[in-house]
């Protein structure tokens, strides 16, 4: 058992989320930085997708009430190490990136909802954010761990993109402008979406798009022209045109973009 002394600005339990339920309006959710979660689970000997604590911007402070095998991944890497009962873990603010994962052997044990222990902050499904004084149980989500993949958050994040379903809603050259510009991450970014400031991407037409399914990683552009990069807890359908979509292999890095960061996009294939 682990006592939460201080969760920091936001700490939630996250695993691989709820894929396959988008037609019911249920987001995929899950760890914003899947790669860090997977690495942490590998380090402590869990099967991929065991639940961990996802901390945001700073913290947490934890007290272990029983021995545990722990690894930290994401903004900082430590372990795996053995925590004894009474040990404290005290993490301050992060130098680079925005999310830290506290992975424990056995995983964090909360009641699964629709097959996942993830907190979906958009729809309120799953456990609420962790609060000071909460006691987290350790589960038995062990299994055959995968070989840990290398990990590192680059100083100058660059996300590969390919054209989205509504690239034709934009003025000619919009994809090129997306790739040529620097985009600053706005402070009102969260697990639902990362809001970006930069030169507006103009629509070539008027009117409203009929609602359609959207994916995590989609760059949705409202009439302001400022794109929103949809995150893990995004709504399942949207009515703003999607100009481009971030490559699946780069989505983890979007989960480490921090307010104020500059991010760039690299064009992958603009032929279609």
């Amino acid at each position: 058992m682990i006592e939460v002394v201080d969760p920091g600005p936001l700490a939630t339990v996250q695993d691989h989320g709820r894929p396959g339920l988008a037609h019911l309006g249920v987001s995929g959710s899950g760890a914003a930085d899947r790669r860090a979660l997977d690495r942490g689970n590998s380090l402590v000997g869990n099967a991929a997708g065991a639940a961990a604590l996802e901390c945001t911007l700073a913290g947490p402070r934890l007290r272990f009430l029983a021995p545990a095998v722990v690894a930290l991944t994401g903004v900082e890497e430590r372990g795996p190490f053995e925590a004894k009962a009474g040990d404290q873990l005290d993490i301050g603010s992060y130098a680079r990136g925005v999310r830290l994962y506290v992975c424990v052997r056995g995983g964090i044990d909360v009641e699964p909802v629709l097959g996942s222990r993830s907190a979906d902050l958009m729809s309120g499904i799953g456990p609420p954010p962790v609060r000071a004084g909460d006691v987290l149980r350790i589960g038995n989500q062990t299994g055959a761990p995968a070989e840990p993949e290398p990990y590192g958050i680059p100083a100058e994040p660059r996300l590969r993109v390919s054209p989205g379903p509504r690239a034709d809603w934009f003025v000619a050259g919009a994809l090129g402008a997306l790739a040529a510009s620097q985009w600053r991450v706005r402070p009102d970014s969260n697990r639902v979406g990362i809001r970006l400031d930069g030169p507006p991407l103009r629509w070539a037409r008027e009117g409203e798009l009929e609602s359609e399914g959207v994916v995590a990683g989609a760059l949705q552009v409202p009439p302001s022209g400022l794109p929103i990069l949809l995150g893990a807890d995004h709504p399942t359908t949207g009515g703003y045109p999607v100009l481009a979509v971030v490559a699946a292999d780069d989505l983890w890095l979007a989960g480490q973009l921090r307010p104020g960061d500059i991010v760039r996009f690299a064009a992958r294939d603009f032929s279609c």
């Binding site: 037609h23 019911l24 309006g25 729809s123 499904i125 379903p165 994916v215 399942t236 359908t237």
Partner: protein, 200 residues
């Protein structure tokens, strides 16, 4: 000639474009039934988004979608009746916008037969097609920050029911006690795409 358009959507998804919502509902049902290799199959107003895991893109989706479009058998949507109390705070406003009396707004909303076209916005929120044309009104310019769960509302060509308290910009005409979404049920969403819905 194909009635199915295909649009790119990154390296783990693609968008099928259909002629109308009925086709989207049919295609989504068929893909979900016959293609377990897909992760998500998400109907939209006139589209179906499909996603998959892994680097290898599935093949044959547009052919299967084309077959589903041509299959004119009536899909087996369930029939769902929702008991509504028509006391929404926007009834008078809708009456003003449409030139109808509030009683007529209620009568027309209740008389229509709806089909759940797709879900989105929130778990269990179904966009209901079939709204009386006289009741087509724009969304509020300022969305409300709190709309109670169970609120029956209209906006544009749709009607819908807010599953739980949330912000919302639709015009509120009534409320129901029906539970639109419950993660603990066998069928978490009361309404799924293709279901036929009546308000009573």
């Amino acid at each position: 000639m194909s009635s199915v358009g295909v649009r790119p959507c990154g390296d783990r998804a693609l968008m099928l474009e259909l002629a109308d919502n009925a086709a989207a509902v049919r295609v989504a049902a068929r893909l979900r039934e016959e293609r377990p290799d897909l992760v998500d199959v998400v109907p939209g107003h006139r589209s179906v988004l499909v996603t998959w895991a892994g680097a290898r893109a599935p093949t044959g989706l547009d052919e299967l979608a084309g077959e589903a479009v041509a299959d004119t058998r009536v899909p087996e949507g369930r029939e769902v009746e929702l008991a509504v109390t028509y006391d929404g705070p926007d009834l008078d406003e809708v009456a003003g916008l449409t030139g109808l009396s509030p009683e007529e707004v209620v009568a027309r909303h209740r008389a229509a037969e709806y089909v759940a076209g797709f879900l989105g916005f929130a778990p269990g929120f179904a966009y209901l097609f079939g709204l009386d044309e006289r009741l087509v009104v724009p969304r509020r310019s300022e969305p409300r920050t709190r709309v109670p769960g169970g609120t029956v509302a209209i906006a544009g060509p749709y009607s819908g029911v807010y599953p739980r308290e949330s912000p919302g910009g639709w015009r509120l005409v009534g409320r129901t006690d029906a539970v639109l979404f419950d993660a603990g049920r066998d069928r978490p969403a009361l309404l799924v795409a293709g279901d036929r819905v009546r308000f009573r």
